[in-house]
Every structure is written in C-alpha cells, then in structure tokens.
C-alpha cells in the first residue's frame, strides 16, 4: 500500500510540474501542455491504496472529479491515463475525457466530474451483477461535500431497499471547494446517515491505509454475504487547494494543522515496525518515480488526436438490428 500511495503522489507531483508550464506569470486554465482544471489527490492517497487494496478484479468503481489516487490504486493503465490527461491520441478515451473523466473498462473504473452522479451508476452496476448472477461489489467514491447532493439520498435509499452489494466511500477532506464541512453538513458524521437507509455506517479517522483496508474488508464481506451496503466515511486530508492554482488561503490555523501529509507518517511507521527498511523504501520510491516518468514520457511523445476524431464516439456504431440479442456470455 505504501508503494501505491507513493505512485499516486509521484504521479500528481509530476502532473503539477507539467501543469505550471506556460501558466506563469499569467495563469490561464487553457495554457500549456496540460490545460483545463486539475484536481490532484495530494493527501488522499491512503483512501485509494486502502480501499482498492482490498478489492478483487470483479469489483467496480465510479468516482468523481478528483480521481487520480483511486485510479492509480485500482491499476488503471498509467501510460494511457497520463496520455488522456495530456489530451493525446493514445489516451484512454483518445483525448475526449481528460483528467476528470477517466474510464478504463478493463479494471471496471469510471469517473465523472459532476458531484454525486457516480452513485446511481455504481448502484446500477451492482444490480446488473446481481441479475447476471456474477460476483462483484460496486463502490462509489464521493467527497463529504457531495453527500449533500440529492442523488446521495435517492441512491442510498434504493441501495437499502434492494440490499445491493454497494459501498459508498466518503472521502472527508473537510472542504467542498472552499466551504468547510461545519458550514455544509448538519451532522457531525456522515456515516451516521446509514441508519436512515438500512445500511451499515463505518467511520475511519487518521487517514491510515491499514485501518481503511480493514474497514473496506468488513464492508466487502457484508456486501458479498447479502447484508447490503455500507457508508464508509474516511477522514482524510487535502494538502493543496481545490484545484491547481487555488492557493487555499481559506485554510488557516487549526484547520491547516489538521491537514497532515499521510505519506511520511506511514513511511516512518513502516520503518519503525520493521516492515520496510530505509534502503528498501528509497529503492521503491526510485522505481515508482521511474514508472511515472515513463508514463509522462509516453504521453509527451504521443501525438495529438486527429481533430476530426472529435466527431466520433457520440453514438455507438450500430450493430445488426436483426438479431434481438447476441449470444451472451453474461448469463
């Protein structure tokens, strides 16, 4: 899990470097080799590592506008994801998606930039698997701010009614853009809301990948044994602004002190506990940085897509209508 966290951090660090190219002295979202908004996951890496570490390949993920730590941990193809983020032809979606819209069907991963909108699709994926009699638990990642979307209430209620194999992972970094949780949320713990929906609530503090892993395993066990869904609330950290270029001047004093970098903490502990030596840690970090650099190089060397390819993929090319259905392996 340490390796996964470091990979995610190295990935975001490199992206940050590239992001600022041609954006100084005058900042513009549209400038430079990495245009658009960029929401990095600095501080939230333990959630990706802890949750995804407990999953099997059958499980399914939808997440939101800050997807890198989950995508990296889930094993989304790093080179193709990087190329996508740079808008290249070799990207996962041929440059149509960008950093908020990462899709990798091979590892059952989707992300969406609209807050809360991944919840319904994830619950539907869980329903599909149940109907197909195939294994798989669906997880949807959402921030503590996203919990206040109506979609949350609607979907959690349906998950409760249908006892779906579903986990809602709430990444509580205390800030919905600039608004602190105390100003956005009437209840102290969002996991308490599980009681209203016939779900189980789990609360994990400390931004600790080991605790997150253990809580995820409990939730998966419940989901797989027909005991229904879990709202898994995890307190985490957002070390930077909402998006790159947001200096986050609104996070001060005590609230700033709360935002602790989890990676050095975890590294210290692993070494202290004798799980990892300093030499091993350095070797691992060097290796991970090399992988990330290779991905960056792959993206940099990849061509941009043909402009006309913007016109493809709005619709799926049509199959043979005369066949009511294909002989499917699903059932």
């Amino acid at each position: 899990m340490y390796e996964v966290m470091v990979r995610s951090r190295a990935f975001d660090d490199r992206l940050t470097e590239k992001y600022w190219v041609e954006k100084k002295p005058i900042f513009s979202f549209s400038a430079g080799p990495l245009p658009g908004e960029l929401h990095t996951s600095h501080g939230q890496e333990p959630i990706g590592a802890g949750v995804c570490g407990a999953l099997t390949p059958d499980d399914m993920i939808t997440t939101g506008h800050r997807p890198h730590h989950v995508a990296v941990a889930r094993g989304v193809n790093l080179k193709e994801m990087t190329a996508e983020i740079f808008g290249k032809k070799t990207g996962l979606s041929g440059g149509r998606g960008g950093h908020m819209h990462i899709y990798d069907k091979r590892v059952n991963f989707s992300s969406s930039g609209i807050i809360g909108e991944g919840l319904g699709p994830a619950a539907g994926m869980a329903l599909a698997r149940r109907m197909q009699k195939r294994p798989g638990v669906a997880l949807s990642f959402i921030g503590e701010g996203g919990v206040n979307q109506g979609a949350f209430h609607e979907v959690m209620n349906i998950v409760g009614i249908m006892k779906l194999p579903f986990i809602c992972v709430i990444e509580d970094n205390k800030y919905a853009v600039t608004t602190h949780k105390s100003a956005s949320t009437a209840t102290e713990r969002n996991s308490d809301r599980a009681a209203c929906y016939g779900m189980t609530g789990e609360f994990v503090s400390g931004n600790d990948p080991d605790l997150i892993f253990a809580a995820t395993e409990r939730a998966l066990e419940r989901a797989r044994s027909g005991k229904g869904g879990t709202i898994l609330e995890i307190e985490t950290a957002r070390l930077l602004g909402h998006f790159m270029g947001d200096p986050a001047g609104y996070i001060t004093g005590e609230r700033k002190a709360y935002q602790v970098d989890p990676i050095p903490e975890y590294r210290r502990r692993l070494i202290l506990e004798g799980v990892l030596t300093d030499v091993q840690a350095i070797a691992l970090e060097t290796q991970v940085i090399r992988e990330v650099d290779e991905a960056m190089q792959f993206a940099a060397e990849s061509p941009y897509p043909d402009p006309e390819s913007a016109l493809n993929c709005t619709f799926s090319d049509q199959q043979d209508m005369s066949k009511p259905f294909l002989e499917t392996e699903l059932f």
Partner: protein
C-alpha cells in the same frame, strides 16, 4: 427469429377500424407493450425500472402484466427518485444490461436531467467508446387535457438538442412496436417519446383513429431516421412530430375541401433526423409548414426549416411557417390551452397564409 424491414404502410382510413373486425388493430400503448414483452421473453438483459410499473403496469399501461409475467425483480418498482434510478439504469447498461426506464411524464426530466445528459448521454463519448449505454427512456409527452404547465409539455428540443441521445416518437401502433424493438436493440441511449393523446391510454378519452393500425404478431424493427409520408400531396408539406401529425392529417382533410393538396410528413425520429426526406418532400411541394407541440423558439420547427434552407433556399415558393406553442407555458383552462396548442384550425390558417389564400379572401 425472422425480422423484416418496415413494410410500406398505408394510411388507415377511419372505416378501417369501424368496418374491419381484427384483434390485431392496436393502440400505440398495446403495440409497444408487445415489443417489450417479446424482448423480455427473448433477451435476459432487458429489464424495466420505473414508478408504479410492476403491479400497476405504469400510468399508461405500458408494462401491464409484465411484472407478474417476468417477476417483480425484473420489472422493478422504484421510489420517487428519478435521478437515482435513471443513474442506476445507466450503470446497469454500462455493465451489459438493457434497461427500459419508464418516466411517466417527460416534464419530470427536470428532476433527473443531469443523470440523463451529463452521465448517460456522455459516457460513450467520454470513454472513447469503451462503454456503451444501451437503454431506453420511455416517457409520455403533450397536453390537451387540462393538466397545466407541469404535466403537458413535449420538451422535444430539450432532449434532441443534447448530443448522445437518440430521440424518437412513434405516431401509430405499427411504428410504436417496431420502434420499441429497435430502441431496445439499439446500442445507444434512446429516448422514446409517446404523446399521451396519441397513445390510446384510457384516461385520454376516445382513441384517435389515425393512430390505430394493424400490427404483426411477430417481431420487426422500424429503423430510426426515416420520415413517414402519411399522406401525399403537391401544394404544401406539413411536417409534424407526435400528436401534431394527427392534427396535420385533420387539417389536410379540411384543406382538401378547398382544393389544397397537403403532404403530411411524420418525422418519427428527431435524432437522427431525416433531413433528406424532409427536403425531398419540400422540393416536391415548394411550401413548408412545421407543426410542433413544443415551444416554438429554438426548437424542432426551426431545425426542420434550417435543414431545408441550408440545402437550397430557392426551393421555397413562400416563407415557411411554424405552428407551435407560442413560447408560453401550457395553461390550465380549456380555452387558454386550446389557444396555444397547434390544433388543426391553426394549421389550416397557416397553410392558407402560405398559399396566399388569406390575401385572396
């Protein structure tokens, strides 16, 4: 399983339903229900979600009996949570299922528009074609029964404007069945609009005869993107969608008494739109009146006219006319509502104007 292309279809006369005793003359509702039944029988990926469908059969009877036949875990009653269950249908479709969603009134897309346009409609594109969303959103449109502004809209343009949605609307039983088969078999997200007034649902009073026709028992598909010429004519083309087509047919009967030969064209599908078919008809008649029960501005009517004048502005002998809802909400009171709907009287007046007949008298 044999499947055939839509056979050339003859416009039913009023006598057909009165004179011929056939249990295969169906309403739109019954016809599309047959297609749903067939697809659920033959394709285990197909399931339904919606409000009041499993036991009750849906507000329009579309799922009548399907819950008992296929089980209540395949015809699934949902709470009043449209964002939730449309989102779920999207996820199920991404995982290989073929959901059919019933959203009773199209007006309700106000509460779930995001899940439709930002998620379901964009997933295939944003994933670069990795993920398909093969699903159908079946919903009722239209007014004319004093149900006021929030239960009487058509919202054709609101849906057809959005990339990634196929938007279709059958106007007779034969098309309804074939188009429902096609919608379920389509690999894309299809919005299936049925005007309540044309559907044959019990609470809308007498069934409009031109919506009824003979429906084959076997399965067949009616492909999207082809207009249907209901009635051939030489003086003016009346283009309509949904119930407006039947208003246009009535207007055409009226106009025939004055010696005006009106061609009545049913778009059938807004996305894809048969621009060639529209053009061919207008090239023949040289005059165009578009009838649409949606709001007039920024809508289907403007799109139809644009697709003609973009190709050849000289084809029109007179300015095109629009008979639509004049950019106001649908009122409750009967005289107010009838004033804004594109009823036959307004269509006749528009044609007379296009023909220059209003000046002559």
């Amino acid at each position: 399983m044999s499947t055939k292309e839509a056979a050339p279809w003859e416009s039913p006369t009023q006598e057909q339903t009165a004179g011929e005793v056939s249990n295969r003359i169906l309403t739109i509702c019954r016809a599309q229900r047959e297609a749903l039944d067939w697809e659920m029988q033959h394709d285990p990926r197909v399931f339904m979600v919606g409000e009041d469908i499993s036991g009750f059969g849906g507000v329009f009877g579309t799922a009548d009996g399907l819950g008992d036949k296929f089980g209540h875990d395949r015809v699934i009653d949902m709470p009043i949570s449209e964002t939730g269950f449309i989102g779920m249908a999207t996820g199920a479709a991404m995982e290989g299922m073929r959901p059919v969603i019933e959203l009773a009134y199209v007006d309700f897309i106000g509460v779930c528009y995001n899940s439709i346009v930002n998620y379901a409609a964009k997933t295939h594109f944003m994933s670069g074609g990795q993920l398909k969303v093969p699903m159908v959103l079946l919903t009722g449109t239209g007014g004319g029964y004093s149900n006021a502004a929030q239960h009487s809209q058509c919202l054709h343009a609101t849906l057809a404007h959005m990339p990634g949605l196929k938007v279709v609307s059958p106007t007779n039983a034969y098309d309804a069945k074939g188009m429902m088969h096609a919608a379920i078999r389509d690999d894309n997200f299809v919005v299936f609009l049925v005007h309540k007034g044309a559907s044959g649902v019990g609470f809308m009073g007498p069934v409009i005869k031109t919506t009824l026709n003979e429906v084959p028992t076997e399965d067949y598909t009616v492909p999207f993107g082809k207009i249907r010429v209901y009635r051939e004519g030489s003086d003016v083309t009346l283009v309509g969608v949904g119930l407006a087509v039947h208003h246009a047919l009535q207007a055409a009967d009226e106009l025939a008494k004055d010696g005006v030969s009106a061609e009545v064209v049913d778009l059938r599908s807004l996305v894809p739109l048969d621009r060639d078919g529209i053009m061919a008809s207008v090239r023949k008649t040289g005059r165009l009146v578009v009838v649409d029960e949606d709001y007039q501005s920024y809508g289907v009517s403007g799109e139809v006219i644009a697709s003609v004048v973009e190709r050849d502005p000289t084809v029109l002998k007179a300015p095109a006319h629009r008979v639509c809802v004049p950019d106001v909400s649908i009122p409750f009171s009967r005289p107010l509502e009838n004033f804004v709907l594109p009823l036959p009287g307004r269509i006749v007046a528009a044609v007379r104007s296009v023909m220059g007949m209003d000046k002559a008298t």
